[in-house]
């Protein structure tokens, strides 16, 4: 067939007894953007890793520009003009941008010369990017790192470019910039494959959509002839309701109030700068902001895991500053933070679901020996309530897929019956189905009168799920807006610091409740 840059036929790949890809067919033309869609664990990344030489298929054939090829290593892929921007960037942190590109260059001479910076700068400009070649990767923002990855694959002469969830960690404006780059590359005749979970992006950027489900290829459709609803049904295999509910609940007095909070990060720089907000029972307060704007430090400080510099935090009128994490937990404040690698916080990866349940409640047992029976009962209940897919309660957590790990973590936190839930990125990297399960869990908690602090990434979701949204930019509050009244653009501007609404209403400062408990304190003292 003419014009196909890549054709994959009957690709099968197994890891032990797990079949990751089963007889998958896929093709992409030059000058086309193909979106690859599927739930978590449907084998999208595995399939792409076979194109980039990380994995070798067990069976099946790959054709590049009509010629049968065997891709045994990333080196082969590079030679064939295939470049992949991985979800977890493959960059050397301590190297400059130029060196990250230079290290893969062939015939680069024996001696490293200063000239390389100029050469990389020229190339970057020619591709239409703006990147300081001497900047070290550890000083770069996520978006800069991604730009570097794209420049890198272009520099090596890639004609086929694969992007694995490139938008997961970008702001709205950065995504728009990325899409313009992709359109420009498409116009130049590159073949582009993009993996994403966000359907609106699929509709916006792609020409065709290939859908996978549980390792199998389902179909490929033209984007212009389909809809988000249809795509979801193909992907999940049954009908799904795509609306996120926002039930209206009777709100209580503020459960958690934070006043003028300032926190330092690990390096001693200010991470959270004079932040005030409150959460009522029956309310979901969203926290929006570019990654690394103090979200992690804020969550840790509330949970008592990080000392604060100044400010006050009260829970139902009681001070919680300086209390040990255990006491804060007993007051009913639970924190679950899903870091980028998903396993870094809250769960012990090598331990079973039962043991991870016990980590939180082992103290309740009366005997000095751990009460495994109760842990197993809790585990079973969480598995049933949140429909966790697992072989057994004794399966190590790291063996579960990302979505199920997150369900276990959230399930355990909710099991303890908290009245304030702090949750950061609970749907990070999750597919639609699992994400909706999580939203439903949070909504159920809200209906039960729990106050939820939801640190999130996807603005569409936050605008649909949250009651109010607090926007952070470099640790400062840019304002608190009502989710149903704001727009994505407004939030985006606030996140980048271009718009500051924190002093919009002089008589009603953002983040201070009218019926605060602080007044009571003052009255008592006065």
């Amino acid at each position: 067939m003419a014009g196909y840059a890549i054709e994959m036929h009957g690709i099968t790949k197994t890891f032990g007894s797990v079949v990751a890809n089963k007889g998958v067919d896929l093709n992409v033309k030059s000058g086309e953007i193909l979106a690859l869609l599927g739930e978590n664990g449907s084998g999208k990344t595995t399939l792409m890793n076979m194109l980039s030489g990380i994995y070798k298929p067990d069976s099946g054939s790959i054709y590049i520009n009509g010629e049968a090829v065997s891709i045994d290593s990333p080196e082969d892929a590079k030679r064939l003009g295939i470049g992949m921007v991985h979800q977890h960037f493959k960059l050397v942190d301590v190297f400059s941008a130029a060196d990250n590109i230079w290290m893969g260059k062939e015939k680069s001479g024996l001696v490293l010369k200063k000239k390389r910076y100029d050469e990389i700068k020229d190339i970057t400009k020619r591709f239409g990017f703006d990147l300081d070649p001497t900047k070290k990767v550890y000083n770069m923002s996520v978006s800069e790192k991604q730009t570097l990855e794209i420049v890198k694959v272009l520099y090596y002469g890639a004609k086929i470019i694969i992007l694995d969830e490139p938008t997961a960690v970008l702001t709205v404006q950065e995504i728009e910039k990325l899409f313009n780059v992709l359109r420009a590359m498409k116009a130049e005749g590159h073949a582009i494959i993009i993996i994403t979970h966000k359907l609106n992006e699929v509709m916006e950027i792609s020409d065709r959509v290939a859908i996978m489900r549980k390792g199998e290829y389902i179909t490929t459709v033209n984007t212009s002839e389909t809809s988000e609803q249809a795509l979801t049904e193909w992907m999940v295999g049954h009908k799904v309701n795509l609306n996120i509910d926002r039930p209206v609940v009777e709100k209580t007095r503020p459960l958690l109030e934070v006043r003028n909070l300032t926190i330092n990060n690990d390096e001693g720089a200010t991470a959270i700068d004079n932040v005030s907000f409150y959460i009522r029972g029956g309310e979901i307060l969203g926290v929006a902001g570019i990654a690394g704007c103090g979200q992690k430090e804020l969550c840790e400080a509330i949970a008592g895991l990080r000392p604060i510099v100044s400010g006050q935090m009260i829970h139902k009128g009681d001070n919680i500053v300086g209390l040990p994490p255990k006491t804060i937990l007993e007051k009913g404040i639970s924190m679950s933070f899903i870091p980028e690698d998903r396993l870094g916080m809250g769960l012990a990866p090598s331990m079973s679901i039962t043991d991870n349940m016990l980590l939180k409640n082992y103290r309740m047992g009366k005997s000095p020996l751990i009460d495994r029976k109760r842990g197993r009962k809790d585990a079973l209940q969480v598995i049933e309530d949140l429909s966790v897919v697992t072989p057994s309660t004794e399966t190590p957590v790291r063996r579960l897929s990302g979505g199920n790990v997150q369900k276990v973590l959230l399930g355990r936190e909710i099991k303890a019956g908290p009245n304030v839930i702090i949750t950061a990125y609970p749907v990070r990297g999750l597919d639609i189905n699992s994400s909706y399960t999580i939203y439903n869990i949070l909504n159920k908690q809200k209906l039960d009168g729990v106050g939820v602090l939801f640190v999130g990434e996807d603005l569409d979701v936050m605008m649909a799920l949250c009651d109010k949204i607090l926007v952070l930019c470099h640790g400062k509050v840019m304002g608190v807006v009502h989710a149903h009244k704001t727009t994505k653009e407004e939030l985006g501007l606030m996140m980048t610091g271009s718009l500051d609404l924190s002093e919009k209403y002089a008589d009603k400062p953002a983040g201070l409740a009218k019926d605060t408990f602080f007044e009571d304190e003052n009255k008592k003292e006065g």
Binding site: F15, S52, I54, Y55, S73, P74, E75, K78, R79, M84, H86, K90, L91, V92, D93, V94, F95, D99, N100, W102, M103, G104, K105, E106, S108, G109, L110, V111, L112, K136, Y138, K152, Y156, E267
Partner: protein
Amino acid sequence: MDKLGVITAFIHSIVAINIPLLYGTVGEIVVEKSGSLNLGVEGTMAVGAIFGYICGCLANSLGVGILAAFLTGALCGLLFALLTVTLQANQNITGLTLTTFGLGIYFFVGNSLKGPDWPTLNNAVNVKNGFADLSIPLLSKIPVIGKGLFSHNILVYLGIIIAVALWWYLKHTTLGLKLRSVGENPAAADSVGINVKLMKYVHICLGSGIMGLGGYYMALLMSGSFNSACWINGYGWIAVALVIFANWNPSLAIAGTFVFGFFNTLRVSGSSLAKAFPALLGWLDKIPVQLYQALPFIITAIVLVVTSIRNKRGSSGLPAALGTNYYREDR
């Protein structure tokens, strides 16, 4: 001996008896820069020492000794690479095993040859003469420090040259850049087409060969007298610590060797210094000998504490992927 002569001798000893540390440290830096933590320095040096010494004496040639020490050291590296890179064995355990294995070989070979057949330096004149001090013209004429710093055997000069050359290699060559990328993030290196396994194999063997040279130096320093204590005597372990002190920089390893060597040499030369300068340094003689023996290890501990405080982001030479095995299909 005149008083200045004592100082000159002290300086001379600092260099002469501590250069094996430089070999061990620089060798380990090369290995660690490829992302492999080889704790088998002690064993590798012991193997290089015994084979270098015996081959050198039997052939009556310092060059043959150097070659044999390098090759047998590199062979230890090859074993380590085979186990950790190809077979994905745990690096810590493999390294510790290599130490036991290397010391075992050392004693096995040594004890087998012990007795009247033991090759002595007196019968290998070329080796003995080859190890004699060579004065650098002009520089060695500087009073006091000249003879101390610039009149040494050829292996001292070779060690310094290797250290500086490897510093240049790591910092200023394309291959060095590729090597560092393997040690920092093998997945990133692999994804741009660098042959991670080959890089690791080559540099583990190269580094281990250099450790072997350090062992050979120890053998010659001990004049080849084989007894129940190993010639290496813990230097391999100190080298592992000096890597951290040198911040994975081969030229800083020279400084590290001499700072450490200063204290190490006090153990040997303390009493002669005390005799020469009773008013100023008389107290050196009053320190119990056990403290002197413990000094190298106390200094090592202090050095490790100081260097761990110093670390700032981006300034540490610690390879990010040190100690972890790379397997491309790992999930």
